[in-house]
Amino acid sequence: MKKLHQIFSIAGYNFRLWRKNPRIIVTFALAFVMCFLLSDKAVCFAIDHNTTMQIVEVFIWNFGDSNSILLSSVLLVMLFADMPFLSSGTPLYLVRTSRRVWITGQVVYTLAATFVYLVFVLICTAFFSMQQSFVGNMWSPTAAILGYTNAGERVAIPALVKTLEMSWPYQSMVSIFFLMLGYTSVMVMIMLVCNLRFGQAAGVVSVLVFSVYGILLKPDTIQTILRLPDEAYYIANVTIGWVSPLNQATYHMHNFGYDKLPRLWQSYCIFGALVILGYIAALQAAKRYNFSFAGTEG
């Protein structure tokens, strides 16, 4: 119980440092701008067609797309630019706890901060579509137009029939939220481990490599590598659905009962397992970690 309290105190200490912190303010301000830019297309479409939207639809259309997930996750790196969160106050906490407790506190903080960031993104997207929206758990006329005509493709909004027919708005929102949380949590865990093992620059590079891996891994690449004929393109698509973390985080790249793509629960389990692996790796790295606090060398 005492250790649990220590873990949450360390995580809480990091959150207390958010107050009046320009980096944190800029990160959330940029997230707000990003949500505005991403939401604009769908909201304008609804205004032009004089149709209503479900309040979480903009979030679903925006973050049902891998590029938007990638963009929001890269922005999250700014939130953790000071990883592994060493300040002149850190020694006072360290000396009263242990390395294991300290690193667990940092992991709790990174996961909680990621959660807060995604809640903020969700609220922002809902805010931007508020004027056109209703809160009932049913798809809107805007969604129907986007999904059942080629309008969605024309304006590059990934409103898919698959999503409309297989789930309800809040159900989709929860799934997308947790897929994004899983993906971004894995990313920050990789960043934390690389940071502890190889230094701060390595932490940032690891995020870039992780993101580039997601971008480059496309079905065409797999088709070329495996020399698949065009009629076997679906094999490449399914392979990508499994091996690309970005596709694991993309809602419509999941099995809704008629293909071999990962199911949602399988993606949650994969992300969960990777986060646990990351935590174990971070614990190992912390054992040999040399704590260096700014302004205290001599």
Binding site: S88, L92, F291, F293, G295, G298
Partner: protein
């Protein structure tokens, strides 16, 4: 007197630079031990190794007969100031110490109140630490080091930023610690502090520790 801290052949490098060169020394219980040396001579690195924040490349450090980094991550029963301690700037001194005290649950509100008074600050002051002078922060740093009544104190430049009355006050306080049987390791640039306070003095020079007295 028993040795409470034993440093055995400790080496520490950062890249190509060897900061500690096979440092061996023992610190006896109930004394004030001074470490002098120029900036960058390795004083703080040695203190951080003793605290467990840095892992020696070779050698070992025993605090109260427990090897730091093997038996324990950080020594128990220790109070520290590593130069100017960082506190949450929007909280008062009392609130900051209460937050830290909640980790070990040794010091209660009453103890915190008393220790803040002991270092010459007003425990009822609501002013946030962000508005404290450097000297006030240093006093609060000493209060956090003392509040759990540790038997060992590691004080790196505890007189930083203090005015002459502050220096006198903290000197007397440190002298009082010796009377209570506490072991203090004190690093300071100021020779007067070292001469007046310390029972033993070592000099750190380019990673080598030599006994001065």
């Amino acid at each position: 007197m028993e040795n409470v801290i034993e440093v055995e052949s400790v080496c520490k490098s950062f890249g190509d630079e060897q900061v500690l060169k096979s440092v061996t020394h023992t610190f006896e219980e109930g004394k004030i031990h001074g470490i002098v040396g120029n900036n960058g001579s390795g004083k703080t690195v040695l203190m951080k190794c003793i605290c467990g924040f840095l892992r020696p490349d070779s050698g070992r450090i025993l605090v109260n007969h427990e090897e730091v980094g093997r038996d324990r991550d950080f020594p128990e029963d220790i109070g520290i100031i590593i130069e100017t301690p960082g506190f949450l700037p929007h909280l008062s001194g009392f609130q900051n110490l209460k937050l830290l005290a909640s980790l070990r649950r040794i010091a209660n509100n009453h103890t915190i109140y008393d220790v803040i008074k002991l270092v010459g600050l007003d425990p009822d002051m609501r002013k946030p630490v962000g508005k404290y002078s450097l000297g006030m922060r240093q006093r609060l740093g000493l209060a956090q080091a003392l509040m759990e009544n540790p038997s060992i104190l590691i004080l790196d430049e505890p007189f930083n930023g203090l005015d002459k009355y502050g220096v006198l006050h903290i000197r007397n306080l440190i002298k009082g610690l010796r009377e209570q049987g506490k072991t203090v390791i004190l690093a300071s640039h100021n020779q007067v502090d070292i001469d007046e306070l310390c029972d033993t003095v070592c000099e750190m020079d380019a990673g080598n520790l030599t006994v001065v007295r």
